[in-house]
Subunit: 200 residues, 2 copies
Amino acid sequence: MGVVGLREQKKLATRQALAWAALRLAVQRGLDNVHVEDIAAAAGVSPRTYNNYFASKQEAICSITVDRAELIGDALLARPAGEPLVEALAAAMLTFYQPPAELDREWVAATQLVMRSPALRGEALKAVEATERRLAQAIAQRCGLDVERDLYPLVVAAVVSGAARAGIHHWQQSGTTAEFGDVLASAIRMGLGGIGGERA
Amino acid sequence: MGVVGLREQKKLATRQALAWAALRLAVQRGLDNVHVEDIAAAAGVSPRTYNNYFASKQEAICSITVDRAELIGDALLARPAGEPLVEALAAAMLTFYQPPAELDREWVAATQLVMRSPALRGEALKAVEATERRLAQAIAQRCGLDVERDLYPLVVAAVVSGAARAGIHHWQQSGTTAEFGDVLASAIRMGLGGIGGERA
DNA sequence: AGCCATCTTGCGTGACCCGCATCTTTGCGT
DNA sequence: ACGCAAAGATGCGGGTCACGCAAGATGGCT
């Protein structure tokens, strides 16, 4: 029982296979040129099985981000306890949004796809919301607050998340030459610093 | 040409009729107990026409909020120029989120419906995003900045919007006895005040 | 009045989501 | 090692939906 059952391993494996297949195909061909049948085939399961895992193509694709949401809480909690909250948050967000170097191209393409296609943006925003929830929980834990009773963690999580989103949007919209990480950090500090802050 | 053509009036009318019909029916029966046919019938058009206006039931329902997004920019720009930005934003958000007194009950029910149903939350978040965009634009205008080039308006808009969302969530989650407007204002000030602020 | 652009509508198609019944695989106790 | 119960995978079928297309109706302009 200590080991995770083979059953769940397989289940998780197919789940991720489906998710990645959906993402890859969608990036290649565009969302509505890829059918459920294709995704299922790429993952080696029947179309019906696909629907046991995901209720829609969008959900399949965005489940990757949703699963990654766990990571951001861990990233925050891994920061040294003495570090100022702002810095800890900036660092955590950076590790979360900075794509792994090997996947760089693909990841950017995926992000663009997900954010441009109206059909995907809704689900993508749900993923952002999930990330926010996890973040709020981690913030509460770090500050010794209760995410159910206290408003503070929710607000901070929403602020950080929103600022980051603004930074990302701004980075990939205005053809800035600045480094992605710098823009992101700048946006987060701007958001957390309050309104009187610098207006870079 | 000065007057809006009868044609466009009618078009707008049916559009809103469809949107409100969709919302009302969804609140009454639950989203998946209401079919496109019902919505179209309630608005007095054919089902096919319904699809000329909206690509999905969710879009129909949330279009109300999207249309309302225009309002929030106007609300901000209507604030006196001397007022501190924080206060102006708080006031604008309040007028936006505070439901019209007559619609109180229905509006709360609608909000709950939209936020609970997974099928609607995605589209609802897109509406929030639209509101943010409008807000950013208004902020830029008020501060004499360029929403395309400057990061500041985007961040502030995202922060305010996020803080407000957190406040709303917190208000309707933890059975606070506090007034809605107070919680909202508190959340917004907390968000805009920066991290060092009070932790009410 | 008459014409054109635009909107509405009906029909048909393809895709999708999911309930249900069945078959296969896995985990576990003996 | 063996067999049984639980859980997952699959096939089938139904209900819904989004949308292209072409024809009909309506507003607006001269």
